[in-house]
Symmetry: C2
Subunit: 592 residues, 2 copies
Amino acid sequence: MTAYRAPVADLIFNLRYTAGLPDMAAWPGLAEADIDTAQAVLEECARLNEDVLAPLNAIGDRQPATLSGGAVTSTPGFKEAFRQYAEGGWQGLSHPESVGGQALPKSIATGCIEINNSANLSFALCPLLTDGAIEALLTAGSPELQQRYIPRLISGEWTGTMNLTEPQAGSDLAQIRTRAEPQPDGTYRVFGTKIYITWGEHDLAANIVHLVLARLPGAPEGVKGISLFVVPKFLVSDDGALGERNDVWCVGLEHKLGIKASPTAVLQFGDHGGAVGHLVGEPNRGLQYMFIMMNAARFGVGVQGMALAERASQAAVAYARDRVQSRPVDGSSVQPVTIIHHPDVRRMLMTCRAHTQGARALALAAASHHDAAHHHPDAEQRTLNQAIYEFLVPLVKGYSTEMSQTVASLAVQVCGGMGFIEETGLAQYIRDAKILSIYEGTTAIQANDLVSRKTQRDGAALALWLGERMGETADALDGHASQSGAADALRLARDALTGAARFMVEQAGNPNAAYAGSVPYLLLAGQALSGWLLLRSALVAEAAGDADAQELSAKWITARFYADHILPQCTTLAHSVLVGHDSVLALAPEGF
Amino acid sequence: MTAYRAPVADLIFNLRYTAGLPDMAAWPGLAEADIDTAQAVLEECARLNEDVLAPLNAIGDRQPATLSGGAVTSTPGFKEAFRQYAEGGWQGLSHPESVGGQALPKSIATGCIEINNSANLSFALCPLLTDGAIEALLTAGSPELQQRYIPRLISGEWTGTMNLTEPQAGSDLAQIRTRAEPQPDGTYRVFGTKIYITWGEHDLAANIVHLVLARLPGAPEGVKGISLFVVPKFLVSDDGALGERNDVWCVGLEHKLGIKASPTAVLQFGDHGGAVGHLVGEPNRGLQYMFIMMNAARFGVGVQGMALAERASQAAVAYARDRVQSRPVDGSSVQPVTIIHHPDVRRMLMTCRAHTQGARALALAAASHHDAAHHHPDAEQRTLNQAIYEFLVPLVKGYSTEMSQTVASLAVQVCGGMGFIEETGLAQYIRDAKILSIYEGTTAIQANDLVSRKTQRDGAALALWLGERMGETADALDGHASQSGAADALRLARDALTGAARFMVEQAGNPNAAYAGSVPYLLLAGQALSGWLLLRSALVAEAAGDADAQELSAKWITARFYADHILPQCTTLAHSVLVGHDSVLALAPEGF
């Protein structure tokens, strides 16, 4: 089992040259958000995760959480690790100081989320969901609800969950049937079954704060009749003391392909009289509130993809440096060499590296736009940056999670038969990765969002604007010795992106044609922009003149590999979008 | 859990219009190899596999073989299923009548191997390895060894294994250390440790015939000093009776990501005085013999990939037809519909279908060339067909196994959260698929074979010859209403193939550049030829005028989907080969 090392240097590189963190310190409220702070935070984060959480990752896979008599016992070591995580203040990293958080920019927090998920994805899901619950309460909760719940979620005394899915309502939340009945005292009684509730029951914290979608009596059909409720595992009295056990019970844990240490619960609400809940915000607006929280969670899951890819890549590199097998093809040694000297092993490792670093650039760029949307002094800039962030979220989620599966599979491939043996730990990454393209909205759901809300709605204006930025980088590369090939590749990827975006707008009245290519469009956009950001970061670093020479050289090589081997896929994907829609739908359902 | 249904109709379609089985009946020794025979054999094979073996697949995953006191107990039900398999005569399908086989052409046998592996991949590995042992004995064994072992391997009384890998000798068999010491009685004593021995120990049969690579005293270093031995689990007396237990012991079973019902053994030879072995063929030629057997096994593993893709696709289609979720994007229903009506689900299902049927066409074409190489009346044709078969084997192995991972992942994606839950059975396909691109030579090993022995050695003559055939099909498509898009796609794929093949020849003196693109070259060749064969089979069927209209229409659609969505990837892969080799190797090993 390889020790995990947090990629602090590459995170700092991206904070400098992709996210532009040095400029942010001039913005209101971000005075302390400089590179020194980032370095200190990331190093501290690395310590906890490398030493405590990373070694628990394989243990969690072998000894998943168990359910007995309604109580879930988590993997040995997790409870103590969670205590350390909470005491370190990591849950409050990006939340407002007013509720006990540290108000760090999302750009820096994203690095910490990556490190936490690389170390232990199953564990990291618990804080990720708690973040979502905090966001939802901050968005729509009354001051009283905020005061009662948020400080203790941030302190790690309690944790949070998101209760959306029901057996008949997965991607289609319109089908939710869980109901909430108003009580004379202003509370509600909640009745229903929720499935796939991540960390829905556990023993890490004293209380669990469930955020639950349910219908009020007489609520409109469909998504317009869904409200949001807080349903705590233990009732909380006005003085904050824990009271009676609420009527929400874990009746099952799923037996899953991966993320085994993360208990995925079936929760039963109200079988014994009704679970006491509190309405969050206004009636029938629950899905809107949930979407705010889901956007953050979707971004977080994208970061999980990149984090898993980083860890799998590290394991593959370590194995390739250690395993001796076969003589080099160029005859440079008569003795067998470590397999990292074999060209195809290098191709696999470079593919892992390029995808991981590309997705990291994309995520940190998105985070920086989020920061600018909240802190930039200019209102127009805030609006533009919010739009860019929202455009990028489905790409971060969709592209990073899909590529994480490719990377995990390649990492196992590098290790050959040893990769297939569970004891080596590599196989876990394949098993863990597969959920990432499913939960918090499948890749197709992300692609729907990208096509309709992010492309068709503004007539592809933002996609074309991004295309112009790509073109500028390509022009800058023209002036760069030996990067003309990258400039050409970038222009072709730009053409693929803008062509596909225009197609989506043109086909607004022909949804079958548009959505037949929605996922190819998402993947091409994710790759086109990741490749662009990699190349741009190298240019920016070079112009800045303050980058470590070795680091910059490696970034050029990685960006160029991306341009040679991954960017050209954008053209193929655009062909799928523009030309291939008929053949997607030509075979009738009964013809399969 | 979806019931598996053998794709007999598509196999017959391919036997008719891809493999050209109707023409084979005119060749010596294949008089009975007609479509009627094929139909009868495949239907009988389907019955056993659908009814008996397919239901055992998930059981084997949950209750793998176990080791206790050196004895392996296989999954409940496997022993009885193996008895039925043996009694049905399935082990002898493609072996000569002289040793008790049925001498069916490989084209037909391939269909049976597919069905067997779709039903139960872990089970099917046992006959697959036994086939390999039979081939090795037929190739190099003395008449006495053949007589002693082959009939009982074919009858299913005994099974066979291949013992190649050692801890330090995986892809690089030159490192083998197991040794064989000659005895005065003409036998040998074998000492050493072999790992990853599939079905290396079990209780399905009374004896296990291990084919073992080992070194004789004073043998040359490297691959030229390796000899092949038969080492039976129980010694066999001259009258064929089982005698003493031989000194080969199972000391461990691997805990694997997938194919769990197939016991992967660590075998210890000679810890108690030496395992009695018999030399097969001449000393120091073991690797040559093993290569003959490995070519058959590599082809078989390619068929496993296609078989697993077929089963995963069936499960995804069944789920997509059953699961109701969300209204259709085109507004054609105000009620939620089964998800097979959603464009992206169709795109995923068509991708699964196109890859599976493409790989099936490739495998059956390869099998038909093997049959022609052995039975065509014209010697020149036999030579040409043997060369084509040998060119196609690494593609069948490499492409089919890589795409099976894509298909298994997409099948789970279609099922969303339900796919990630182990109980639904879909997740097993992801876990099982990953071994296929590793064992019997990783994809990189297949690609090395393709580059050196199959492309550089003949100056790419065969690759260019295949390119000409592709061009002919493109020309024929020009004359076909509505298929001009497919013709264009096919020409681009042809250009990618021939361009990459020429590059490999040009770079014969620059092995790092060639091998940096070896796997992309393999994948592009596999896809280019699979897409070509799909389109050609539709043309041939149309010209024949005797195909079922619905089947033919579905084949055109599937072939066109391949042309729109998969063939264009060949161009990207060719770019990796021609342009991308520098960036593969630019980052030094210590730079990772």
